[in-house]
């Protein structure tokens, strides 16, 4: 058997030099006259070990990482093609603690094989969910998704099955499935990883959604900052079409479903669902007032399911293993698993899929291993630029939609940014307002004007101008933005601002004169 070497083509791995490693390995193979097949897989998500190279041996896969081009010669000398020992040796990838401790449902296949091999996808259980779905009545599919307890993974946490039911129950000549892949939140990369590492699971999830609701056309709206994901998804859709997964007879059934990949144009607000729909229609990405709900009048005025990548990619396993299987993971009203993205200043950065319920402290200290700089953790921002900053005192908060809401925070798309004790929380609060000002669509006043006034007011606090008065003003402004904005951009910007103010008040004290001048 020709040895197989797996080198990730995931953009995170590429950013850490995977391409150079692949070239070095190919060169070494040629020079030594050794025959081997290089497979470009996705990433398993342990980015602190990327580029992680795996070799298929008689005793299963053996991983090495993080591999630098300079390590390659040594790897060959140590006989890595048969799993030989080397300082980068990690052993069986599924035994690496960071990966072994996870519950991989949505990401079960991500990073294992060539993402564009439909055969590899099927060999690991792919398409079973869709096969079950084509044999079911739409209402039964919707019921199964509802019973699984799956909630929107984009951030809002709305029950997916209920959204689908509204679309199913609305009569129209045309319905759409729209996948929100405008993953703009800092600290999040789960959508990118699944699109680059296991694109067929998303296609399968969208086809199931189509059959369940009577929609025949799907769009994936991917942000332009993800060129690699766009390329993989476009190829995967073509392959799915050629293989009869998409088309007029999905898997040979009478159900028709096809889809298109669309690319955004650099507007964060287009991650908001109604703004995304406007953008797909070719308009300015301005937020729409609700009602009407997109489920009733969505894309081009037609009933539309709009779901996040991870929500849709979680559907195949629910249709394969059943609602109860999925629902049995998690806690409270947060059922199933959540891909937590541990990012920023953290030692073990990467994607960690687990049932809901782990505490923030376990995630940051235990799994994440503390900061990359080795300094104490000062704050973690959960849920992207609209998420709250949590101090160590709140590290007992369990990862659960309601538990985070009870502490004036949100899970969002489950990204966690870790900051060490050098972070200046006034600066972070100011950035939240500044970002809102840059990205505001401009439709509603609290967001458009409030964010700019917020930056100015925080600047006055920084300069020591009437700090108490200006803190009261920011607090009042946050109330207005929270309750007066049309969408989550203006409505949630107060989370990072107020949490920084409430938990890190010492950073809002007037700075010494020398610093205030900068």
């Amino acid at each position: 058997m020709i040895p197989r070497i797996y080198i990730p083509g995931d953009s995170g791995a590429l950013a850490l030099g995977a391409e150079k490693v692949a070239k070095a390995i190919a060169k070494e193979l040629a020079e030594r006259g050794v025959e081997a097949k290089i497979v470009r897989n996705g990433s398993r998500g342990a980015y602190f070990l990327e580029p992680m190279v795996e070799v298929a041996t008689a005793n299963g896969r053996v991983a090495y990482g993080p591999v630098k081009p300079a390590d390659v010669k040594g790897l060959f000398d140590c006989g890595f093609l048969t799993g030989g020992h080397h300082k980068r040796w990690l052993g069986a990838p599924d035994k690496i603690p960071f990966l072994a401790r996870q519950t991989r449902l949505t990401f079960a296949r991500c990073g294992i094989n060539d993402p564009l091999s439909l055969d590899a996808y099927k060999s690991l259980g792919g398409l079973k969910g869709l096969q079950n779905a084509v044999a079911m009545a739409p209402a039964d599919i919707v019921r199964q998704v509802t019973e699984s307890g799956l909630r929107g993974r984009g951030g809002a946490g709305f029950p997916t099955g209920i959204k689908w039911k509204t679309v199913l129950d609305t009569t129209a000549d045309r319905k759409y499935i729209v996948c929100n892949a405008d993953e703009g939140d800092s600290a999040t990369f789960a959508d990118r990883m699944i699109m680059e590492g296991d694109p067929f699971v998303l296609i399968e999830g969208m086809a199931i959604a189509g059959i369940a609701t009577g929609a025949t056309k799907g769009f994936v709206y991917i942000r332009s900052e993800y060129p690699h994901a766009v390329a993989v998804m476009k190829k995967a859709v073509e392959i799915a079409r050629m293989s009869g997964v998409l088309g007029v007879n999905v898997l040979g059934s009478p159900n028709a479903f096809d889809m298109e990949i669309r690319v955004g144009a650099g507007a964060y607000v287009c991650g908001e669902e109604t703004s995304l729909l406007n953008s797909l229609e070719g308009k300015r990405g301005v937020v729409r007032a609700k009602p009407p709900l997109p489920a009733i009048q969505g894309l081009f005025g037609k009933p539309t399911v709009i779901n996040n990548v991870i929500s849709l990619a979680s559907v195949p396993i629910i249709m394969d293993r059943g609602a109860a299987f999925y629902r049995d993971f998690g806690m409270g009203r947060s059922r199933g698993t959540i891909p937590i993205q541990i990012a920023g200043n953290v030692k073990n950065a990467g994607l960690f899929e687990a049932g809901f319920g782990m505490t923030l402290g376990e995630i940051v200290d235990d799994i994440g291993g503390g900061t990359a700089t080795g300094r104490p953790v000062k704050a973690v921002q959960v849920g992207g630029p609209l998420g709250a900053y949590f101090p160590r005192a709140l590290f007992d908060t369990p990862f659960d939609y309601e538990a985070f809401a009870a502490r004036d925070g949100l899970i969002g798309h489950a990204g966690i940014t870790v900051f060490d004790d050098t972070a200046d929380m006034l600066k972070q609060a100011r950035f939240a307002m500044e970002f809102c000002a840059i990205e505001s669509c401009g439709k509603c006043t609290p967001c458009r004007i409030g964010s700019t006034r917020g930056v100015e007011t925080i600047d006055r606090i920084a300069r020591g101008i009437e700090p108490e008065k200006n803190i009261a003003l920011v607090t009042d402004l946050c109330q207005t933005m929270k309750f007066g904005s049309l969408c989550a951009l203006g409505g949630f910007t107060p989370y990072p601002v107020m949490s920084a103010l409430n938990h890190f008040r010492e950073d809002f004290k007037p700075a010494p004169v020398a610093e205030a001048a900068e």
Partner: protein, 159 residues
Amino acid sequence: MPMQLASTEITSRTAAIVQEMKGLEGPLLPILHGIQEEFGHVPQDALPVIAEALNISRAEVHGVVTFYHDYRSHPAGRHVLKVCQAEACQSMGSDAVAAKLKQLLGIGFHETTRDGSVTLEPVYCLGLCACAPAAMLDGQVIGRLDDEKLDEIVAEVRS
């Protein structure tokens, strides 16, 4: 690419792109992406052509072009360097990275070096948050930026 294209040439090349994509549902963004790929920016002369073909007003096209950060009104430098300035990168010192790049290149954000070699832009998240601080040079991703990598980037765009 010549610096100044005749407006008739812009019109005819735009018309070809519009013709190719007109049949899509919601064709305006794909058309604008196509035009930016063709010309390196969205020229003013392209707008009336699009407006007429899609039966919308020129003001509507203008409104869409100016709404999105990606569409350029002028061509960029030969290289485009996007440096992430979002929170995960901030936690790993993206401020210092940006400051150093500005100093090495002698330009600020949204500016192009005088020799036209590079345009520097901030970007808010590349999805490389587990490899922060990150940047993208002409679509090529680079993570865990340090002084050595910044020097390499600058040498590459200058060469």
